[in-house]
Amino acid sequence: MKPAAFAYARARSVEHAISLLGEHQGDARLLAGGQSLIATLNMRLSSPSLLVDINRLPDLGAISVTAGIVEFGALVRHVQAEQSETVARYAPLIARAMPHIAHPAIRNRGTIGGSIAFADPAAELPACIVALGGELEIAGPHGRRSVSAEAFFKGMFETELGPHDLLTAIRVPAADAKTRAGFAELARRHGDYALTGLAACARATAGGLSDVHLAYFGVGTMPVRARNAEAALDAGDIENAVRAIATDLDPAGDLHASAELKSHLAGVLLRRVFRQLSEQPT
């Protein structure tokens, strides 16, 4: 279990990283927290010619709030977000998701940007970003661009990132007093990828909820919005919402859960998350 030989370069700047990626024409990989990449290298599931280490890039490691937007630098470590007062206050969905992500040792090294760029369909953060209607900033050979979270995820481990692109920032709308967040997942062991999970947010209204966003993970090739269920919850009808799951989701079974089980659990999670959304945050 030793990786094939590879070259290593430490990027001095975002532009330097992009030019290194360009020189290797798609055969280079970015090294951030390394929590997925190193395992795939050791198991020889991938053998890039070059690792571009971006860990020391300046300015990608901060969490800030400006003009109603929370911005995470791509190199923000999970542990940093987990312990951040700012995240707890302005991005409560992400704060709720954090303890479910793997184990402390992994959260110490793993980065927010790495998790989103890797786009594991069972990962928590991609679903959170989709539920929040977030935006991803990408730096590439032709400058910087922003894409919405829903446009960013394209399939299993597939994203809008091209071979010479670098994810630089993640932006989500800052929560206010009317924001409600809900998060739940079912994993066999704490820290495992979930059999099924749900990230949700909504606005509290006088009579109930509006703008409900439901993003499931572990049920498809990427985060899946449950739009019919969202509409049902906007109308305040949880029973209808649970029934709508059957049309919203079409999960494929895997080693740990059949399609039938995933669908069933999606309904169970919806009830649990709906209760969270309906509660006044403390």
């Binding site: 279990m1 990786p3 062991r189 495992d192 059999l195 069933h264 659990l265």
Partner: protein, 798 residues
């Protein structure tokens, strides 16, 4: 966690003034290991050492048409490439059979596959290079031309006429079969008011060691001697096997076992890749290292369980059990593992099922079949979790059928504590068990009646909790009955040599081995107590066939009971020698003196006479001052092997309290109890931790661990992400209690404690889940591991 106080033990010869027996002495290796100063095989680096990696079959069954190693041989750093035929010139094949398992058959196995690969992961080619990374680079260049053959994956159909026979020369795929017909099973069926039956399925799983299998082999051509550094449970057994199959004398082989990162039965077998490493070292005349990586471990470390048992129980209205009947089928891969064989687990299931109950009527059939999956062999608590879960699952079903409390039905049927010695229908013999006392103790510890009331109350709120219980026995301290009489050269006895050095310190050499379980501490405690010195003056030497008494090693919960007794006797003998010397110096009678805490004292008054250091000084440096003709003997060796009983059976009872989320099918373990009786407890902390660790592995079997194969014999989850080992977050608090019934076969009275936890836990969890779901009219769950999908299906939610 709470540690329930042990039963007060009766004062015996073990209660010497400075006895460490019964005390939770910290293990001597603790600081070294926790400070990262352990020395494992992976840490071993020798001059001119090479690394070997294996090209493994991707197919469950395939003919090897050709292997092209040309490109690999020319790759950077590569020293040699070997295929099966290359190694036959130095190493002979082996066949995993034992003569006392009548009819057991298997085929010759070679270090590298010859013309066929018989499981996914079988090594077919070896690449040796300067580094592991270079060897892996080169291994990727080996081109093997396979012709895929039909795979025998399903044990159920392995004996069907249309199923291919894996080893045609054997005639069929049946490895071993055993039948028992004891008492009058038919009469037992007729006497029963109710007959309950169920089919229990135990998924294949494996022992996931922290440290993978590892070996460094070094053939010294000048000495004509092989030194093997190996993480093994049984160094002398491996010495014999290496010598035998290299065709050299045993004294030409030295096996050194330093620290071992867990073994659980995984590291007590001859593995083809390790045998190949030894053969290659001999051919190349250079040290060669092999360390299995995690993916190789899943494909090649022995798997275990994989049993399907149809069980029947007959019961009268008053709860009397009238008959047990089982039909066990197990698939063991393409070879019976050498040298202990893969027939032992099924044999144990037959021996043990129902054995601790009074019911005399028993019918059993066990069939062991070949299949194209990884080999299966002895993993912690061999056969016990199966026999226990089947027996106790049936007893619970019978209790439910006649409307009797699960504790009550056990009370009425257990062999009473005054009913020993006893012989079970299968023929196994119990010296003395304490099932009634253990059951009573656990009922008190867990507040059984209160729990039942809580369960009832919560059910009304839609919370489904279950209480499950297992009583069980455990095979420990095996005599030669286990392997020796079947022809395996695996020592049943063990010896301890104690040596007094010039400073009055003691070296204690023993053939048992430390795997991380604390044997070193236990031997030091016994030796220090018997001899009469502080434990800090005792250094235990293990794991070196050149420097320890020939012995069996660590397996079947034998180290404390067997080597512990040898240490006790050796300590006593050396004390007698030292007191004879002291008596000469002090002009006293030896019997008037004693050695206590490193000081010779007057036995009666405890008055200090002289220090052991002074005695050692005189003995070693000034023996000229001793009377003529007096020769001090400063080394003593004693051996021990159980003689009176084939095994020192222990017993115990476990209980699980858990909650099933009926929406998700998830099981939350709330608490677990175990009361066990391992006889004299040498180190309560180590015993309790053995029990807890064993319970965790048993819970793994019940809820998580499963080697999932597809119908083509492909392992689908051979990695740490997909193979679920039990983790701390999901484990309950465990309360451990003891009943102490020493074996009269030894002075120490210690039996084994290594496997009780694993034996009882899966059945307890199974019974608790079924107990939780009974009010929902659930289908009885009997297929491990109990996943959310299985549970939701049983209650009709999916």
């Amino acid at each position: 966690m709470t540690i329930t106080p042990d039963s007060p033990s009766v004062l015996t010869a073990l209660d010497r003034p400075n006895s460490y027996i019964g005390r939770s002495v910290p293990r001597p290796n603790l600081r070294r290991l926790t400070e990262g100063r352990g020395s494992y095989v992976s840490d071993t680096v020798l001059p001119r050492m090479l690394h070997v990696v294996f090209v493994r079959s991707p197919h469950a069954h395939a003919r090897i048409r050709a292997i092209d190693t040309l490109a690999a041989s020319k790759a950077p750093g590569v020293v040699a490439a070997f295929v099966g035929a290359d190694l036959t010139e130095v190493m002979s094949p082996w066949v995993g059979v034992l003569t006392h398992l009548k009819g057991l058959k298997s085929a010759p196995q070679y270090p590298l596959a010859m013309e066929r690969a018989c499981w996914q992961g079988e090594a077919v080619c070896a690449i040796v290079a300067r580094t592991r990374a270079l060897a892996e680079d080169a291994a990727a260049l080996v081109d093997v031309d396979y012709e895929e053959l039909p795979a025998v994956a399903d044990a159920e159909t392995a004996l069907d006429p249309q199923t291919p026979v894996i080893h045609p020369e054997l005639g069929d795929n049946l490895t071993f079969e055993r039948r028992v017909n004891a008492g009058d099973p038919d009469q037992g069926m007729r006497d029963a008011a109710e007959i309950v039956e169920a089919t229990f399925v135990f998924g294949r799983h494996t022992g996931v060691c922290n440290e993978a299998r590892a070996i460094v082999a070094d053939w010294n051509a000048a000495e004509q001697r092989l030194t093997v550094y190996q993480g093994t449970q049984a160094p002398h057994m491996m010495q014999n096997l290496f010598a035998k199959h290299l065709g050299i004398a045993e004294q030409q082989v030295r096996v050194i076992t330093k620290d071992v990162g867990g073994s659980f039965g995984v590291k007590v077998h001859a593995y083809a890749d390790e045998m190949a490493t030894v053969a290659i070292a001999k051919l190349l005349r250079r040290p060669v290292k092999f360390v299995a990586d995690r993916l190789e471990s899943f494909l090649t470390d022995i798997h275990a369980r994989d049993h399907r048992v149809h069980g029947k129980i007959g019961v009268k209205k008053d709860g009397t059990i009238t008959v047990f009947e089982i039909d066990d089928l197990t698939g063991i891969g393409p070879y019976s593992v050498y040298p202990r064989t893969s027939g032992i687990e099924a044999n144990q299931v037959v021996n043990l099922t129902g054995s601790w109950y009074r019911c005399p009527n028993y019918r059993a059939l066990a069939r062991v079949v070949f299949q194209n999956k990884n080999v299966m062999c002895q993993y912690r608590a061999v056969g016990h979790p199966i026999a226990t879960a089947v027996t106790e699952g049936l007893v619970d079903l019978a209790a439910a059928r006649i409307g009797m409390d699960p504790v009550e039905i056990r009370r009425r049927n257990l062999i009473p504590d005054d009913g020993y010695p006893a012989t079970a229908p299968s023929g196994i013999k119990f010296e003395k068990l304490s099932q009634e006392a253990a059951l009573q103790k656990i009922v008190t510890m867990m507040r059984y009646d209160d729990l039942r009331a809580e369960q009832e109350r919560l059910r009304k709120q839609g919370v489904y909790r279950g209480i499950g219980m297992t009583t069980f026995v455990e095979v420990t301290n095996p005599s030669p009955t286990f392997y020796g009489i079947g022809g395996a050269r695996i020592s049943a006895q063990d010896g301890v040599t104690m040596r007094l050095d010039g400073a009055g310190t003691v070296f204690c050499h023993t053939g048992v081995s430390e795997q991380g379980q604390g044997t070193e501490a236990v031997i030091a405690q016994v030796a220090a107590s018997a001899f009469g010195v502080p434990i800090s003056s005792v250094r235990v030497i293990m794991g070196d066939t050149d420097n320890t008494p020939y012995g069996g090693g660590t397996w079947a919960s034998r180290a404390a009971g067997i080597a512990g007794e040898a240490a006790w006797q050796a300590g006593k003998a050396l004390r007698a020698n030292v007191l004879a010397l002291a008596a000469t110096i002090l002009q006293a009678q030896p019997q008037s003196l004693d050695l206590r805490d490193g000081i010779v004292v007057d036995a009666a008054s405890s008055r200090e006479r002289m220090g052991l250091d002074e005695i050692a000084r005189i003995a070693h440096f000034r023996p000229d001052t001793l009377p003529p003709g007096f020769q001090p003997e400063l080394v003593a060796t004693r051996h021990y092997v159980p003689r009176a009983w084939p095994f020192a059976f222990t017993n115990g009872v476990q209980a699980s309290y858990l909650e099933v989320d009926v929406d998700t099918g998830f099981v939350k373990l709330l608490r677990h109890w175990c009361v066990e009786d391992c006889g004299t407890i040498i180190n309560p902390l180590l015993v309790d931790e053995q029990v807890r660790g064993g319970i965790v592995q048993g819970i793994g079997a019940a809820l998580y661990e499963h080697c999932v194969y597809d119908e083509r014999g492909q392992l689908l989850n051979g990695n740490m992400a997909d193979y679920l080992v039990p983790m701390a977050s999901e484990m309950p608090d465990m309360d451990i209690g003891h009943v102490v019934t020493p074996t009269a076969d030894s002075e120490l009275g210690a039996k084994g404690a290594g496997e009780a936890g694993t034996a009882g836990a899966p059945g307890a969890v199974m019974n608790a889940i079924n107990d939780a779901l009974r009010p929902l009219g659930a289908k009885t769950l009997t297929e491990m591991p109990f996943t959310p999908g299985l549970i939701l299906r049983a209650i009709g939610r999916i």
